[in-house]
Symmetry: C2
Subunit: 653 residues, 2 copies
Amino acid sequence: MGQNVTQKLLQEHLIHGELTAGEEIAIQIDQTLTQDATGTMVMLELEAMDLDQIKTEVSVQYVDHNLIQDDHKNPDDHLFLRSAAKRFGLHYSQPGNGVSHPVHMQRIAKPGKTLLGSDSHTCANGCMGMIAIGAGGIDVAMAMAGEPFYMKMPEVMGIELIGELPPRVSAKDVILELLRRHDVKGGVGKILEYHGPGLNKLTAMDRHVIANMGAELGATTSVFPADDEIKHFLHSQHRGEEWSEWVADIGASYDIEETIDLSTLEPLIAKPSSPGNVVPVTEVEGEPIYQSYIGSSANPGYRDFAVAAEIVRERQVAAGVSLDINPSSRQILQDLTREGKLGDLIAAGGRIHQAGCNGCIGMGQAPATGRNSLRTTPRNFPGRSGTKEDSVFLCSPETAAVSALAGAITDPRTVQEREHVTLPTAPTVEDQALEPPLPYAEAQDVKLEKGPNIGNIPTLKELPDEFEIPILLKVGDNISTDEILAGGARVLPYRSNLEKISEFTYEIVDPGYVERAKASKDSGGHIIVGGYNYGQGSSREHAALAPKYLGLQVVIVKDYARIHLQNLINFGVLPLFFSNPDDYEQLQPGDMLQFTNIRNQLSASNKIEVSLESSGNTLLLEHNLSARQLDLILAGGIINWVKSRMETTEGGA
Amino acid sequence: MGQNVTQKLLQEHLIHGELTAGEEIAIQIDQTLTQDATGTMVMLELEAMDLDQIKTEVSVQYVDHNLIQDDHKNPDDHLFLRSAAKRFGLHYSQPGNGVSHPVHMQRIAKPGKTLLGSDSHTCANGCMGMIAIGAGGIDVAMAMAGEPFYMKMPEVMGIELIGELPPRVSAKDVILELLRRHDVKGGVGKILEYHGPGLNKLTAMDRHVIANMGAELGATTSVFPADDEIKHFLHSQHRGEEWSEWVADIGASYDIEETIDLSTLEPLIAKPSSPGNVVPVTEVEGEPIYQSYIGSSANPGYRDFAVAAEIVRERQVAAGVSLDINPSSRQILQDLTREGKLGDLIAAGGRIHQAGCNGCIGMGQAPATGRNSLRTTPRNFPGRSGTKEDSVFLCSPETAAVSALAGAITDPRTVQEREHVTLPTAPTVEDQALEPPLPYAEAQDVKLEKGPNIGNIPTLKELPDEFEIPILLKVGDNISTDEILAGGARVLPYRSNLEKISEFTYEIVDPGYVERAKASKDSGGHIIVGGYNYGQGSSREHAALAPKYLGLQVVIVKDYARIHLQNLINFGVLPLFFSNPDDYEQLQPGDMLQFTNIRNQLSASNKIEVSLESSGNTLLLEHNLSARQLDLILAGGIINWVKSRMETTEGGA
């Protein structure tokens, strides 16, 4: 039986496990990408693990998120990231060079490779015949240190594309159709692999559009074949020699099968406030708009801007409509400028912004209260635009441009094509703002440039064998990571400063916690007790790292939310369960618990006994750590663990 | 004896007084400009005075400052300003249309006219043979209501320009030379009038550069003749018929005379952190730079960007240097795009931002901590860039561009001209984003669009004749408007919301003041007692309006800072002095003061008596209100005063 592209790519990189849906597998990572919002912590982690040089084939640090420089913090972060890229052997993509995903596709992506990125739209590069997966920062740090990436083998959903898109219907409508069919959880636990004759008319960048928003379906990633179109694309990027063919075998099968007849699609739009809230544009036609927004990694191609330019050329946007143009990369911006498209967009009323993520991540361009914003971006979660009570629709560039002219949501098929957009025959190719790694010898001498807001990750200690520490906080069920450590503009600017950000820990729940926790550090730390679903919500790693920094040694709860559990393990906090959930009642803040022979206990069984000092009672607790996770805990977290592995490897070499 | 241009222009608009330096004069205002940061309060003032329609020839509301839309507040302000412009008969310049000063020059400015603007660089349009003065928001509101502008007649400083600028030395170096000679207070109380044969080689936009930074010398304004160059400029803007000649008579004289031989100038640079800190570029050559920034109202012309493009074309900025390009107007951006200059700037590494003030006012583009930033902007006050510990140098586009290539401050004369920059023969002319006023009949029906953060200015009451109110706060000497009402990112977003912003009043000095003040409102208000130099510092009007809103009725101090005194008067707070400063000692918070027959007392003499309830003592106080100022106080502030004047006029018409 023939293999599909996903199977071929995973097989090629498989280190542990079998390619059976649901089984844990480990794959070798060839490339990584980090962006600036997640990258500063990743670089601090590399520093903390004493990494000498990255072990991937290529890793790139992009700066595309925090481009608004309101004060010193963002530019200081950029300088830090640049110095860390030089030190550890990464490429560095300067602010203004563009959004990671299209730049990576243009300059770095390579068929047959794996890419792990600390950005949820990393999957976009699946358009290049790659396995490209978004992950947490520490996972990406581990990949740079040469560790494989662990995941449960997803089901492969084969999406056969047939037919050809009608005029004014484009790639964005294809992925919106999938979201219409399956909604935002329809891709969970799946890899979406596209195949079929309909691919022939989809350019590499069209495929990027579709692969990118696989994230909105919750898919692990999206995969396209590396076919002649990709060969052509790489050739246009002067990288023709990096192409290799990755196509499904004849007779390849998929766990799930699905077909989209492109010729039957019409312009679609996701209404507020979910990417899955998709209807035909005709259903909301006439709604007045405040903003029309072209750009982002969900419509990053030259074509996406050029088709908007074709529509608005020698016309004017409706009075009062803000037409925001967010170029996705410097290369594309140069092509648009040279071909006159940028001029057409400006003349029609466009506001041109620097190349980057910008409003897609709420970094500027927020709409006015309650006004409709049409965006070619991938997400319209409530408030993501920056405006709390926003009203954001997601659509194609065609729909956004035609609606900008009308001042209201309008079916783009009502405006006929004056000329068909073609790609530049010789597109700009330049790596001016994509700095290559330094030679190894020079890299050794680079010092990390840390502005006043950039801290260190402290060395975490191994789990001691005996300790007696107090419960400092007891919380109830469903504590979210937002309650543990809030996000938002007040807290996030300190993402690179653990000492500072930890001051916000449990601020809302118990403002005295931070002081008590700090006081516990010298005498062995402390315990937090909680109920069910502890650590639900956002995956942010700081919610584990900040309390650890403040001396958190053990958490005892009824059960954990999955990602926070892994984050606690990664940072060396021992996560225990009550054997009997009713024991929750007998623990109180201030109680001292005595842990004896704990390293052996953990290794010997999943049950451990600790004694409650006040009563002398023994408390029965459990853990469900895998052997690898236990290693992390005993080592004092993943950074220590990988550090000692690297020492062993290097010592042995 | 012949007249200079200043005298001719003022004579033409004189309503009261004589053109003798130091005398109070009142002049008729033909045009106004407001920008968004100051404009929202101005529009609320127009609303509060029930203005039906502006009485100026033309008034323009620009949106150029708060272009970063992080949340709903800025875009809501834009919509409010647009609706107010429509309601009251102003032009509205959309966000992205550019900086007020160059746009005004291109599309609105007219030789022989007066312009009052709520922006300190309004003086830039003095380049057009106009009297163009920056003023407080309420002054501009009054001008729109048809009131004249009052000021002390400045001395006229005649600056004779002779010779011709050498290569790589440009208009920016001329104004830097004046700052080098006279520093930042050298123009106080003066109008700088330029004349002489050196003008022949300075284009209209070159003159804009020089006129603009008259503000940095503290000058009332700068004046250039409306000569053939201005005729030519207006012709290029398709407004040739709006030209009229305004040149000095032969034999015209000036109060002060000065000469600059342009041929002797060299590239100059203002070191951190004052525009007056000027030295030759050669003196700081070699200092490494982080940023090179082209744009702002201080170098807004096509030429300023094109000369930078000529320098960097087919070259690359040094690695790690951020070359930020801030187009000043949509027209110029279109010309730069069409002529290939924008492409050259991007290809060399430029980050292109939307047309507007941007980093010049700390709205993005802040430099990294302690790194040198070279800017063509007008100001480098400490922290203005957004970075507290900044290091900003001011220079010409030539110096900024050449230094960007080198990565260090570099004399631009080291890079030879490859071709001479010429202006486009047919520059873009369009008013697409400059919306004209509505016809009067339609304007009546426009409702002001107020987002949730936009309040009202409450109706202020006339000063009662009898009242007995408590002292709620007693402060010492040198209280600044920052102590009365802080600026900064925490407070300023509420600039359009008096109720909300008033919550910050005297926050640092006495956190209980706001609650006590609110409680006083229903029983006639309250008094603040202070020492010398009360209200020093920033001119912000909110520092008077916010406490007034909270019930402040009377201030009694030893003496006042000039601008805050006028602001108190404008908003109907009675500003009194101690006849005997030692009486300061006998007043305490909580004391009740009884004011009897106060309206007559104020009109009859500058001395008034009030009685101190606790002791029964009589307190001798004074005022120094002019007849006009007294009218304002009796009316309950300038808004009431102008409102009743408008009613009288309209009733009488």
